[in-house]
Assembly symmetry: C2
Homo-oligomer: 135 residues x 2
C-alpha cells in the first residue's frame, strides 16, 4: 500500500514534469520577436563557406547575445523561385531576439571581432534586415 | 486499493499522453525543410498592406499547399541593421515545405489567382528565394 502511494507520487511528479516541459516547448512563440537577418547576396565570383559559417561564425556571434537570443537559424540559398532569375542570396543567418536594443548593446563592443571573421568564410558584403515577426 | 490502482492507471495514461504530446511538438524540426521566401523590396512610393497580406493573401496561398506545408511565417521589415542604409524589405512571407516539387505542382495551376491578388495589398514586384534550412 505504502509503495503504491509512493509510486503514485513519483508518477505524479514525472507527469507534472512532462507537462511543464511541454509548456516550455510551446512557450516561446516567434510572434512578436525581432529578427535580425544577415543576408548574403549572390553575385558572380562571390564565395561562401557555409560549414565555417555554421560551425564557427554563427556560434561565436550567438555567444555574444546571452539570454536575449531565443534561437538562431541558418539557411542556404538554392535558387530563385522565379524562372530565369539569378539566386537572390547565397545564405542567410537569422537571430531571433527579444530586444533589439539589447542586441545592439551586445554586438557593439564585438563588432570588430565579428567583421574580422568575415574573410574566413565569405567575400560578400551582407545586407542586414531588422524585422518583426507578425506570424 | 482498487481505486488507487485505477487512479495509477489513469495517471500513467495522462503521463504517457503528456510525453507523446511533447514529442509531437518537437517532431517537426525546421532543419532539412525547404523555405520559399517571398520578399518585397522597399523603395520609395511602394506600398504594402500587411493586414490584408496576413488575413487574406497568405491564408489563400497556404490553402493551396495542403499537407506539404509545415508552417508559414510573416515578418514586417522595420529597418536596415546597418546605419544610414535604406530598409531592404518591407515584408517577407515564408512557406516551410517538405518538397519543392510538390510546392511547384500546387502553385502552378493557381498562379494566376495568386498574381491577381497582388494589387489588393502591394505594388511591389517580389523577389523569391528558395533555400534549404541548414540549422
Amino acid at each position: 500500500m505504502k509503495f503504491i502511494l509512493i509510486g503514485t507520487f513519483l508518477l505524479s511528479t514525472i507527469c507534472f514534469a512532462a507537462f511543464s516541459q511541454e509548456k516550455h516547448n510551446t512557450a516561446v512563440p516567434e510572434k512578436g520577436l525581432t529578427k535580425v537577418s544577415i543576408m548574403y547576396p549572390y553575385a558572380e565570383n562571390k564565395t561562401f563557406n557555409i560549414e565555417y559559417y555554421e560551425t564557427k561564425h554563427m556560434p561565436m556571434v550567438a555567444g555574444f547575445l546571452g539570454s536575449n537570443l531565443v534561437k538562431y537559424t541558418i539557411e542556404k540559398g538554392v535558387a530563385s523561385g522565379i524562372p530565369n532569375q539569378p539566386l537572390p542570396f547565397m545564405a542567410i543567418g537569422t537571430f531571433y531576439v527579444k530586444s533589439l536594443s539589447d542586441y545592439q548593446a551586445a554586438i557593439g563592443p564585438n563588432r570588430e571581432a565579428i567583421r574580422a571573421d568575415f574573410p574566413n568564410y565569405t567575400n560578400i558584403t551582407p545586407v542586414i534586415l531588422v524585422s518583426e515577426v507578425v506570424k
